[in-house]
């Protein structure tokens, strides 16, 4: 479960190459439609953050995304990138400076991996040498072997490889803003989780501004620094960081959408090491036996000897709780990076933490 750690990118300055995105009362009504597809949408994405647009189908989240690079033209309001209206330049010019990755990936079947990735750099007039170096750099960045995949056509790549190449292509010209429309939508759950982890690791290094569309609230919670929940008609139901969204849903619609297990989802956002850990000698019902290096060996009570549940401090509380529920002992040993026991995690500590963060009111 290495990829399920709460991976919110915190700290670290935004890349100088990251843009702010500001929706200012943006509206879109299609000709002949009685209802707007997007109505009066206003929110702001800080530079270097991942903003996830999420909502049920037909809520206009993809439309909202496509308004940014003018694949769909808004009918009212404005969108500002670093304070500059997207309408200030011709659409093709604007799009070359915004990364774009979509669900079906849209790799060009007639171009090799390298030529696909090189699309935007070549449009921008980079010279061949620079393009070639950049292509190899990106292939390595997405964890593939340049010599192996560079000259392959998309039909010769696996689904996961194609997805990664799609991301590399979107990053090719180092755009300050990336638009991703359900880029992992067509991938099986295991690979999706892996790709999400890779995206977060990539983002920890690149610190781009990313606007990401998904219908999957779990994906939104995992990836988003901020989440914008939309309801039908492109109306913003709530715009908040994931923890706040889960703790204080704005209304019944948001509460329903995030699901009945939102407390568990909150736990997924917290690291085991950040909970209240008890010292080993805190009068626990069991004694923890450790070896000379401080690594846990067994629990002892009377003559009884029980196996130790070891929890990485970076593991999510959700996973830790799940393991605890299945463990014969109500305690888990939380380990530091060297495998030494840092403290003991008990189920009631998790309960207290949730109550405290929610201000003791619950929901």
């Amino acid at each position: 479960m290495t990829d399920t750690q709460p991976a919110h990118t915190e700290g670290g300055p935004a890349s100088p190459q990251a843009a702010t995105v500001a929706f200012r009362a943006v509206g879109k009504t299609y000709p002949g439609a009685s209802e707007p597809a997007i109505g009066e949408l206003s929110f702001e994405v800080p530079a270097g953050e991942i903003c996830v647009l999420v909502g049920p189908s037909g809520c206009g989240k993809t439309t909202a995304l496509r308004l940014i690079n003018r694949m769909v033209e808004m009918t009212s309001g404005d969108i500002l990138l670093d304070g500059r209206s997207v309408r200030d330049q011709p659409p093709a010019e604007l799009r070359r400076h915004i990364g774009y990755a979509i669900q079906q990936i849209g790799l060009f079947p007639h171009k090799t991996t390298a030529d696909n990735i090189a699309t935007v750099p070549l449009l921008l007039g980079w010279d061949r040498e620079r393009v070639r170096a950049r292509v190899d750099e990106l292939i390595a960045l997405i964890g593939l072997e340049p010599g192996e995949v560079r000259d392959r056509y998309p039909s010769q790549l696996s689904g996961g490889q194609r997805q990664r190449v799609g991301v590399a292509r979107a990053l090719a010209a180092d755009p300050p803003l990336l638009l991703m429309d359900e880029p992992f939508g067509a991938v099986d759950p295991i690979n999706r989780e892996r790709l999400q982890g890779e995206l977060l690791r990539l983002q920890a290094r690149l610190r781009k501004t990313i606007v990401f569309v998904t219908h999957d609230i779990d994906e939104a919670i995992r990836l988003g620094d901020h989440i914008a929940i939309l309801r039908r008609g492109g109306v913003l139901a709530q715009y908040a960081p994931p923890a706040e969204l889960l703790m204080a849903p704005a209304d019944d619609f948001v509460r329903d959408f995030v699901g009945a297990d939102r407390e568990l989802k909150r736990l997924a956002l917290i690291r085991a090491g950040d909970a209240d850990l008890r010292p080993v000698d805190d009068g626990l019902a069991y004694d923890l036996v450790r070896d000379d290096a401080g690594r846990p060996v067994a629990w002892l009570r009377g003559g009884e000897r029980l196996p130790v549940l070891a929890i990485d401090r970076d593991e999510s509380l959700r996973d830790a709780l799940s393991s605890l529920l299945a463990s014969p002992v109500r305690y888990g040993a939380v380990l530091d990076d060297d495998g030494r026991v840092d403290g003991v995690l008990a189920i009631d500590a998790i309960h207290r933490l949730l109550r405290r963060e929610a201000g003791g009111t619950g929901a």
Binding site: A92, L94, R95, R96, L123
Partner: protein, 240 residues
Amino acid sequence: MSALTVVAQAGGGFFRNRSGTPTCEERNGLCPAWIAHHLDRYASPFWQHLVLVLVSVGAGFSNNFTLALMAHRRRWLVGPFVQLTGILYTIPSLAAFFLLLPITGRGSLTAIIALTAYTLLILFRNVVDGLDGVPDEARDAGRGMGLTARQLLWRVELPLAVPAIMAGLRVATTTTVGLAALAFYAGAGGLGAPMEADKAFDSNIVVAGGLCVIMAVGLDAMLVFAERVAAPWARARAAP
């Protein structure tokens, strides 16, 4: 069977036998010696035929390409174009030659106009289908990355339509090789002329017909090769 009836059967043939024994030609067989000796008389019709095919398919292709690109931009043109070329396609080729004769006179021009008309339906449909077959997501990604409409057409849509376009070219070329055998009715020569001149002599028909087949197969092979060069990706499958 008397020598006289043999001569009569070969009626209008190239040969008369003065001795009593029937020759291969008289027996109307397949005569390698005769063929080897007379092959050069087919050279000129062969080249005429080839030129008719190349010019007609070439003209058909370039016309079509323009029409198909127009129709690709303006979808409502597809229906009328298909109907028009479909009607052209249903006119019997001989009738077309005879209809054109009073206007364009005897000669290559008449034949080329008629032959070109026949390529239109096949080529038009294939170019349009090829462009329609481009995956929407490739088009969307192209637009989203900042390709202009023209760049999208030349760098994405047309390259992806190459297999469909080449398939149309192959059918059109093979069909035209066959139809061009009638071009001599319009006074344009081609391999139909020697066929007509001695149509009862099997060796003659086999050679002239065989050359048509060789031409069709040869041109087809060249188009297959061209497609491999122009669309290597179409044959790329999962690598070992």
